[in-house]
Subunit: 308 residues, 2 copies
Amino acid sequence: MIRENANITYSIAAVERDTGLSKDTLRVWERRYGFPTPERDENGERLYPGDQLERLRLIKRLLDQGRRPAALMKCGEAELAALLGSSETAAAGIDDPDFIARRDEVLGHLRAHRSSALRSTLGQAFMKQGLQAFVTDTVAPLNVAIGEAWMRGEIDVPGEHQYTEQLQNLLRAAIGGQASSNGRPRILLTTFPEELHALGLLMVEAMLVPEGAQCVSLGTQTPLADIRSVAVAGNYDVVALSFSAAFPARQAIDGLLELRAALPGTVAIWAGGCAVRNKQRRLPGIRVIAALPDCVSALRDWRVRNAA
Amino acid sequence: MIRENANITYSIAAVERDTGLSKDTLRVWERRYGFPTPERDENGERLYPGDQLERLRLIKRLLDQGRRPAALMKCGEAELAALLGSSETAAAGIDDPDFIARRDEVLGHLRAHRSSALRSTLGQAFMKQGLQAFVTDTVAPLNVAIGEAWMRGEIDVPGEHQYTEQLQNLLRAAIGGQASSNGRPRILLTTFPEELHALGLLMVEAMLVPEGAQCVSLGTQTPLADIRSVAVAGNYDVVALSFSAAFPARQAIDGLLELRAALPGTVAIWAGGCAVRNKQRRLPGIRVIAALPDCVSALRDWRVRNAA
DNA sequence: GAATCATTTTGTCCTGGACAAACACTTGAC
DNA sequence: GTCAAGTGTTTGTCCAGGACAAAATGATTC
């Protein structure tokens, strides 16, 4: 444990920022489930102790995996930790000894904030594997491992920043080096307004650019109307959207169908991420990408179908 | 005007996301100032028309410049626009014809979403000027110009994303190419928890790395306790913080003084950005960076003082 | 298995009151 | 003239507790 829980308390705004749970949600949980149970300052305002913040973070993480609050609230510390472990080990590459060694090396660097060592470890893996294999076999499972380590308190906020920072540098440089300005298809990458994590987009881009596609990333959180106008005006062939686990599935489906209706049929739509997994049936006219390597097959399918 | 205001309305959550004004603030403004005046749906929930959203964005922007709400609410459309123009033209380089030409080129690309043209325009400016001059003479005033264009509705969300995206690629690549792993001083770059914009940090890094300093960026929003522990454990010589105009000055000063007390005297603190401008007097033991080029002089001063 | 409906769970929104922190302004000391 | 301290006003955040729609679950049918 690096994090120091001491006797520090946190305001409701601080907890909202740290956990991603809205103030309204925090208050209503207290009313309904009897947790959390913050102290109050002399003015009646909530003060959350560090251990409750910790527990809220854990709960949020499990919610994002599809668990439901009422059940989680009753669990003890140990049960929560067990639940977390149970569902996340399914990621690929977990049993590859090369990956394990590299993972432990990275985690060690992050714990000690050795940023230049981190950079060279990541750089070496990249050199050895090439961009695409690096993304699928190293970065993707590493993200999971780091998420877990963060929940266990082994890694702190700066450590996590360090990781995304270095990885962004590496991926952007690699993508920039290979970018073509006239390849086909032209692909527009983005996410819907509620999405946050930029890293996922960067990973997809890293998979597609080496195949000769021309990717343009709009960054995260693009409103639907803007996606439409850019896709049409920019003469794109494909619009690719990414959805994290935290994104409500229903909203993703509705948004995708709406976008499908708004775009001309000549523009393909690809959707990837946990929120749309196994939803192909409900998404006619949209190509669902089940996992990172599949975006390469989607690209090849597109080329076969559009061979002129 | 590219944005289409049609008859679309926005929920309070959408407005919060788009403007950065909290739901509480939006409701209390309505109560106090009589603006905004959203319609209601059949269930009594607020629906903000597009033009009010537009106006709220403008107001937020002016708030970030230090104006106060009560005054702004009374203004007409034209007055608000005038206020915005009045305070931002002070940026350097505005009268340089080379800059003006480049600025108009960039704005044209952004309006039309020509991303590869944008990349090459930025890349050319970078090649011609070198990293440091590029940052001070092109990027800094360009940011201001783009902010203004965005307020005037000339540029949309994707356009702005496009710009930050391409600029990040360029700067990260340039920094990565020059990074040294054993230069002095070792500098830790970050911002306090409330800060958002990553571009500012990247710009500072771009100024310092060519001087042979060893920069490590923690990204944005690092808690104070974490800054302290990383700085000490990582054996840093300097901790550099960046504050945007939106950051409350009082909080910046208190935070800096607290950090100064928490760090050993051997670690220097540099602070830059609008929020701390002209506050050198109240910040003993902290080096205030008035403008981008000053971080180079701060670096030279440090070297003179620590010549062993 | 997959679609439809009823039921429960869950998050967001509402009102209107309260209050502290930030700000503008005045006063007095150097 | 500049700074520190004190006063009044503005402004954002927090609170309670009720309401309701959207999402998830389970039952039923095809």
